[in-house]
Amino acid sequence: MTPASVAEREWRRFTPVERGARFAVYFTIVAAIVASIRTVEVIPEFVADAPEQIADLLRRMWPPDLAYYPQEINSALMDSMHIATVGTVLAIVMALPFGFLAARNVTPFAWANWLARLILISARSVNTLVFALFFVAVFGPGALAGTLAIAFHSIGFLGRLFSEALEVANPGPVEALRAAGAPWPSVIVYGYWPQVAPAFWALVLFRWDINVRESIVLGLVGAGGIGVVLDTAMNLFQWTRVAMVLIAILAVVVVAEVAVTYIRKKII
C-alpha cells in the first residue's frame, strides 16, 4: 500500500468527533434561540414602541434633581455601604470554617468535605434577593435583613474560592510543621494561612465590590439602603429624583471598583 501523496491528503484541524460535537452545540444554540423567539410572550407592537418609550423616560429624567442628594440620597447610600461592608465581614467569619472544611488537603474526612460543599453550593444557589425576602419576613424590614442576606449569600462564593486556594497550597511547609510535631491550629496558622492570605484578601475585596452593587438592590424588597429611596421615587413618578439616585449609584459603584482594583494590585 502506498501512502497517498501529501497533496491529496485532506488536512483537518479537528477529529470527526470534535466536529460532530461542535456542530451539535451550534445546532442546539440556534434551535434554542429560534424556539425562544417563537414562544416567548412578547407583544411585537411593544418591541417596535420600545425605543420611543425609553427616550421619553430619559427626557422625563432630565435634569436630575441635585437638591435631593443632601436631603435623602446621601444617608441612604451610606446605609447601603454599611450593609455591604458589615455583610462581607460577617460572611468572612462564617465562610472561613466552611472553606477549611471543604478543602480536601486540610480536612482529610470525605464526609466533612461533602457536607461543607453542599452548604456552600446551597448558599451560592439562593440569590441575595431571595435571602433578603426571607430575612425581611423574619426580622422585619430594615438594614438588618439586608446585611444578613448579603452575608449568607456571600458565604458560598468566599468559602468555595477560599477552599480552592487552600487546595493548591504548597504542602512543603505543612509537612515540615507536622514533622516537627506541631498541633493542628499551628499547622493552619503557620502552614496554610501565610500561603493563602493574599488570595483570601483579594477574594474578600472582590466580593465586597459585588456586594456594593447587590446592597443597592436590596431596598426594593424592603431590606434597607438606597433601593428604598429609588423605589419610593419611582412609585411616585418623580423621575428627576430617580435620575439623581441612579447617578449617585453609578458614582459609588465606579469608585468602589477603582478602589478595589488599586488595593488588589498592592496586595498581590
Binding site: 424556539a35 434577593l129 438594614a143 438588618l144 499551628s186 494561612w193 426594593l220
Partner: protein, 259 residues
Amino acid sequence: MAGVSAVRPASWPLRLASIGFALYLAYALSHLELTPARFLAGLEFGQKFLAKLFPPDFHRWELLLKGLKESLEMAILASALGVVASLPVSLLGARNLMPAWVTWPARMLMVVCRSFHPVIVAILFVKAVGFGALAGILALTVASLGFLGKLFTEAIEEISLKQVEAVRSTGAPFMSVITYGVLPQVYTRFIGFASYELDANLRNSTLVGIVGAGGIGGTLFAAFQRFDYDFVCAIILSIIALIIAGEVLTNAVKRVFRA
C-alpha cells in the same frame, strides 16, 4: 495572636487602619438596630418560617413550569442579543486596535451597563415598556453587554499583533483583518465567556420577575406575599435545579470547545 506577627510583622499604618476599621465596624453594627429581644424574636420567627417551608408543595407545577420556561427563554434571548451587541462594542473598546477617541466612549458605555444591577435596569425597563418578558430581556441584555463587553475587550487586547500585521500586510480590508487576524485568536475564549454569561443570565432571569419583568421571579414574589411558603420552597428548589442544570450544560459546552 502574637504568633502571627512573628510570621509577618504588622506595620503601624496597618495597625492604625485595622483599629479604624474596627471602630467603623462597631459604628455600622450599631446602625443595624439589633437588640437581643429582636434577635430572639427573629429566631422564633425563623424557626416557624422554616417549618412552614416544608414540605414543598408542587401542586401547581404548571404555573411553576411556565415561569421556569419563561426565565429560560429570557436568558437565552438576552445572551444571544448580548453577544451580538458586545462584539462590535468590544472591538471599538480594544486599545490595541482602535484610537483613543473611539475606545473611550465604548468603554464608558460598558462601565455604565455593568454598574447597575440587572434588577435596577429591569425596573426602568418595566416603567418604559411595560410588565413582562420584554423588559426582562432588555435588562439582561444591558447587563450582558457590560460584562461580555469587558471580557471580550480584555481578550482582544491580549492577542498577538503579529498575525494581525501579517493579514494587514497582504492588503486585506478591515473586515478580513478582523475575521482572519483577530477572531481566530479569541474565538475559544469568547465561547467560554458567552457560556459564562448564559449562566449568569439564567440566575438573573429568575430574579427580574420580582420587579415585574417576567420569569419565575414574579411567581416567587407573589407566593411570598401570599405567605404561600410551601410553594415558595417548591419554587426555590426548582430554581436551584435549573441553575445547576445550566451550569452542567455550559461546562459541557466549554469542554467541547476546550475553552
